[in-house]
């Protein structure tokens, strides 16, 4: 049995914030490997460092100490302008409050995701991914004309249109009811199992965490066994 490829690796990664006189250790010497095809759920109470770790794994944020690699590149000392080139086409993002561009239709939001990632893609790819998330009949609608579940599915389509290798999702069901949450769980599962998409999700949702292959619990900026 071959070893799965390591896509993102964090070695004793720390991230500190200054909060007035106090230094908050959001991540404290965290080590983690995200391998291809994995489905990881980061769980833990608010303030435990899930989102910070997600930002670091997603190459959105820099690290204060330790070493990080992503897709074979050392990102430990990269500046923002360098990190963006690592993200493009490799990492897709979903957020709790969807963060769609509200002046653009579903289709335009997805097209924008494709354009910004500089990934080769075609109108067919946009249509295909909109179909995958079941929003084909709603592709001409603005975000405000969609339900919460539809918006999150549109955000998922935008994240996936560039065919990223890793999907980073921060509380993707945090603003959804159980029915829409279930739809997202199912899509995640399907994308992970059928297409081999690597998913890292931070969640308070125990049901979603239960679908993940690996559950990582965080407390006080550390991953605990």
């Amino acid at each position: 049995m071959s070893m799965a490829e390591c896509l993102i690796r964090a070695e004793k990664v720390s991230k500190h914030y200054r909060l007035g006189e106090e230094t908050v250790r959001a991540n404290d010497e965290v080590s983690l490997e995200v391998t291809a095809g994995g489905f990881y759920a980061l769980t833990g109470p608010s303030g435990s460092g899930k989102t910070t770790l997600l930002d670091i794994l997603g190459c959105l944020d820099t690290i204060d100490s330790g070493r990080g690699t992503a897709f074979g590149r050392d990102v430990s000392r990269m500046r923002e302008s360098q990190l963006v080139t690592v993200r493009r086409g490799n990492i897709g993002f979903m957020f709790q409050d969807f963060m769609l561009v509200d002046t653009l239709t579903v289709r335009e939001n997805v097209e924008l995701g494709l354009a910004l990632s500089r990934s080769p893609g075609s109108p067919d790819r946009v249509e295909e991914i909109i179909g995958t998330v079941g929003l084909h009949p709603r592709r001409g609608h603005l975000p405000k004309q969609l339900s919460g579940g539809e918006r999150q599915r549109a955000a998922l389509a935008r994240a996936l249109v560039s065919s990223p290798r890793v999907l980073i999702a921060d509380e993707p069901t945090g603003n959804l009811d159980s029915r829409n949450s279930e739809a997202i769980y199912s899509l995640f599962k399907e994308l992970n199992e059928r297409e081999g998409l690597t998913i890292v999700v931070a969640t308070h949702d125990a049901e979603l965490a239960a679908r993940a292959g690996t559950i990582l619990s965080m407390i006080d900026g550390r991953i605990v066994p």
């Binding site: 957020f95 002046t103 653009l104 335009e108 910004l116």
Partner: protein, 394 residues
């Protein structure tokens, strides 16, 4: 999905705010274009009026040069008189190509302006007057039957106003004389259109101004001799020589202080409009901080974000500039009428001349304004760290 489309759609988020910003620029640019159009139009019209006088110098009785300059353009007259002997002394100068004596008199006509009364301008001339103005043609009739005939030649507008044709009679109030219309001139586009011309001797006799003149128009054979000619006439007592260049300078002096003031106001308006644009775009950037963070997370570079915000600013400025140009064109008549009311002397042609070149320059100026005004908001937006932007407010 292009970044251009994204920028355009961003402008539609707060339509009223965008519209007000565009209107601010439009008003500022409109005022500036009108003023620049006035600069060009006024000078051109003034030059055209001066050129159409046909002479380069006017000899008048000594007095206020400003008054002389204005009166020269209004028909070469004034209430100061000089002796006709001056004409006799100058006329034989070999440097002169053409010369014409003039005697202008104004008469209050109580029937003018729908019974409110107004001044009628009479000018006594001899045949040399038309030699200086070869572009003047008769619409009907012809020259006076005799050098002292009780006849009148009407400028185009004077004939329209008086509703007279050749052969009709005109009553001259004040002196209680009746004259016959000998001819009517075609429109010349100059002050001559509103003047009633009479034989020089008739005016001298009618107004008891025997051997008196108000002006002598002179065209030299060689324009280079103008200063030497003027110098020679300085010795002539009781007269002054006004050149076209002086007239133009004098008239432009009269309006220059107003021009400086209005230009300053227009430039301040443009500056305020630019600050308005910067403020609007900065507010828009601030409101979209999270969205900008997401765009960066999706792969947008600093330059991508910079371009989007810069483009928004440029579009706002270009729209404002185009609207301003349109506004200036539509308001040309209004501005012209307003200028005619406030200026001491308004030449006869188009006082506000808005050329395609001026409009192109205004549009180019607004593009430059947009490029400049957009730099700071675009820089602020592009400098946003995605992680800070996305987590803002959490």
């Amino acid at each position: 999905m292009s970044l251009i489309k994204l920028a355009l759609k961003n402008l539609l988020r707060k339509r009223i705010r965008t519209a007000l910003t565009v209107c601010g620029i439009a008003v500022a640019v409109g005022v500036l274009v009108s003023l620049k159009g006035f600069d060009v139009g006024y000078q051109n019209s003034l030059q055209a009026d001066i050129d159409k006088m046909g002479y380069q110098l006017l000899v008048t009785a000594k007095g206020c040069p400003y008054e002389a300059a204005t009166l020269m353009l209004k028909g070469g007259g004034g209430l100061r008189y000089m002796d006709e002997a001056v004409y006799a002394r100058i006329v034989s100068d070999a440097r002169i190509d053409k010369i014409t004596p003039q005697l202008v008199q104004t008469v209050f006509d109580p029937d003018k302006n729908d019974g409110r009364g107004g001044l009628s301008l009479f000018m006594g001339i001899d045949p040399s007057y038309l030699e200086l103005k070869p572009w003047t043609h008769y619409r009907s009739g012809g020259w006076f039957s005799a050098p002292d005939a009780a006849e009148v030649l009407l400028g185009y507008e004077a004939a329209e106003l008086e509703q007279r044709v050749v052969g009709d009679r005109i009553f001259i109030p004040g002196v209680d004389e009746v004259l016959t219309v000998a001819g009517v001139f075609e429109r010349t586009g100059t002050q001559d259109d509103g003047i009633l011309f009479m034989p020089l001797k008739t005016v001298q006799a009618m107004f008891d101004l025997d051997a008196r003149l108000t002006g002598i128009g002179i065209k030299l054979k060689d324009i280079a001799q103008i200063h030497a000619f003027e110098e020679d006439l300085y010795d002539e007592p009781g007269i002054q020589v006004v050149s076209m260049a002086q007239v133009k300078g004098t008239i432009m002096n009269l309006v220059s202080s107003a021009r400086v003031m209005t230009h300053a106001i227009a430039l301040i308006a443009v500056l305020v409009a630019v600050i308005g644009v910067v403020n609007t775009v900065l507010m828009s950037v601030f409101e979209r901080t999270k969205e900008i963070g997401v765009l960066k997370a999706l792969g947008a570079s600093r330059w991508d974000i910079f371009r989007v915000v810069w483009l928004e600013t440029i579009v706002v400025c270009v729209l404002g500039g185009a609207m301003g140009g349109l506004l200036a064109i539509l308001a040309t008549d209004l501005v012209q009428r307003a200028i005619q009311r406030v200026l001491p002397y308004a030449p006869s042609g188009d006082l506000v001349l808005i050329s395609p070149a001026l409009l192109a320059a205004a549009l180019a100026g607004t593009v430059a304004m947009g490029l400049l005004a957009g730099v700071y908001p675009a820089f602020r937006a592009s400098s946003t760290r995605p992680v800070v932007a996305i987590r803002m407010g959490e």
